[in-house]
């Protein structure tokens, strides 16, 4: 294609795009490697002069500065991981099985049930927040991993089902028909023919679900009153809310929370984009 005179304009645009997308994260990383004195200097330091990890040591409770001001971040990382992974596993399994039935099998009330599930996609957090708190309190599931995983799963299922439904729809039916003619049962066809074909779709669904789980805030804020189940988001906001904690340490904790999504985005980008597009068609 011919180079237009807009070439340099696009170059400028891309620099703006990159600065906008990356600078805030870079700035947090930069601050997290500084001493407090350097972070508070009146001229901005765009690179740390005394590259050091004491802020990270402090939030994980290692070394001399690990006073009661910080700490607890290690436990929060474990909590976030358990909750996000648990919810991802449950969501993907349930969504894949359900989406296949909706996409390919015939049964009574299929249409109405499908629309009920899809309709819940439009429900905002408001619709369920207070009742879920009441229901979980009633069941004794407040402050438990199980409670949080169940709530996340119910919230992520409609989108996961919709992404998987679109992935199944995109497969040609003829493969399954051939398997059926060869005498395979519905379950056999699903397990050994269809599932391997939608593996990329399952990966996309799992990645997006995990990222949603990692970012959850209001539900765990409401559903946990002790730090036994507190995820990183809640721990970080508590840390930032305590005004005695230096900003270098808070930024170190933020970078810990950023690290996992960042690795996922850079390594598994293709699937994320596919998943977002599949979750939005029509």
């Amino acid at each position: 294609m011919r180079r237009s005179k807009f070439g340099w304009l696009r170059g400028v645009g891309i620099v703006v795009l990159l600065l906008w997308s990356l600078f805030p994260v870079y700035w947090a990383l930069n601050t997290s490697l500084m001493t407090n004195a350097e972070a508070q200097s009146s001229t901005p330091h765009f690179f740390p002069t005394h590259f050091q990890f004491s802020n990270y040591e402090a939030i994980f409770g290692i070394g001399p500065s690990s006073a009661s001001t910080a700490g607890g971040i290690g436990r929060a990382v474990v909590n976030s991981s358990i909750e996000s992974l648990g919810a991802t596993l449950l969501t993907v399994v349930i969504a894949v099985v359900g989406a296949y039935a909706f996409a390919r099998l015939r049964f009574r009330f299929r249409g109405p049930l499908f629309y009920v599930v899809l309709a819940t996609l439009t429900l905002p957090v408001y619709a369920t927040l207070i009742p879920i708190y009441e229901i979980l309190t009633h069941l004794g599931l407040v402050n438990t991993y199980l409670g949080i995983i169940l709530v996340y799963t119910s919230g992520f299922l409609p989108l996961a089902m919709w992404i998987m439904y679109n992935m199944f729809q995109a497969l040609p039916v003829s493969i399954e028909e051939a398997a059926t003619i060869d005498g395979a049962s519905t379950l056999q066809t699903f397990r050994s023919i269809v599932l391997p074909l939608v593996r990329p779709g399952m990966a996309a669904t799992a990645i997006i679900t995990f990222l949603f789980g990692w970012g959850q805030f209001i539900f765990p804020l409401v559903l946990g009153s002790t730090n036994s189940t507190e995820p990183l988001t809640v721990a970080l906001s508590a840390l930032a809310g305590r005004h005695v904690v230096p900003y270098t340490m808070i930024n170190a904790a933020a970078i810990v929370a950023i690290a996992i999504p960042a690795v996922i985005v850079f390594c598994l980008n293709r699937w994320i984009v596919d998943g977002i597009v599949a979750g939005s068609v029509k």
Partner: protein, 292 residues
Amino acid sequence: MRRSRRDIALPYAMVAPLLVFIGALALYPTVLTAYGAFVHNDALDPPNHFTGFGNFQSVFSNPQVRQSLENTGLYVVFGVLLSVGLGTFFALLLQRRFRGRGIILALMVLPWALPGVVEGVIWSWIYDPTFGVLNSTLKSVGVISQYQLWVGTHQIESIFFISLVQVWQITPLAAILVLASMQAIPGELYEAASVDGARGWTLIRRLTLPLVRPALAIAVVEGLVMSLNIFDQVYVLNAGATNASSLMTETYQIAFNDLNFGQGYALSLLATVTTIVLSLLAVRFIYRKVEF
């Protein structure tokens, strides 16, 4: 061919877990919200009793709720306009293939993948009134003569700067949706248009934008839903103050700090209905199927 009983039961067994989850933790709670909005339910003033529109009257006569309604309107305006505008701009930048595009796309997606709370925290450091890089940079360039309190003093300014953090998060989503739609446009259309002498901005305005209209509609709805529900960024950046409170932070405040579930339910119901109605309207007005 006769279908065995097992074959008939199979589809139901496959959708059952999905339906149980959605029934128990999405639909049932929604019904409870709709019901709870009409019940007096205040932990500090028992017992519970049916109150008709009493909760709604109470919340509407509460000046803080009215303030949060107004603020949420501003969050929606800023959130939708900026995220869709910027997302479309990014999509246009990445529309044509060039070396390194894949990497730039990956880097662009990063803010979308990060927790809203984390974004609130790192931006609050950027905005910091005494040590923030926004202040120090703008002052050294000479744009401002003294350090500003970006979030906290002035209502609209606070909302703008908090909204910007959310825009940072949701812009990649808009960009991806619009970009995917742009890439579905057949190349011949561009060839035909450039033969007719269309260039640059004209081409974008007359050809590209009308054809990606459905994607723009989805991006508007996503932005609308996200900004109507804005919570994390406000919770972190507006801690303590009320002048930039959103409907969601106000609902949280009333339900979980004041322990007035009845009024919390009333606000929740209001917000739920508003979200759904506005989404449907946006789809109806903006969405129009495009045929190539």
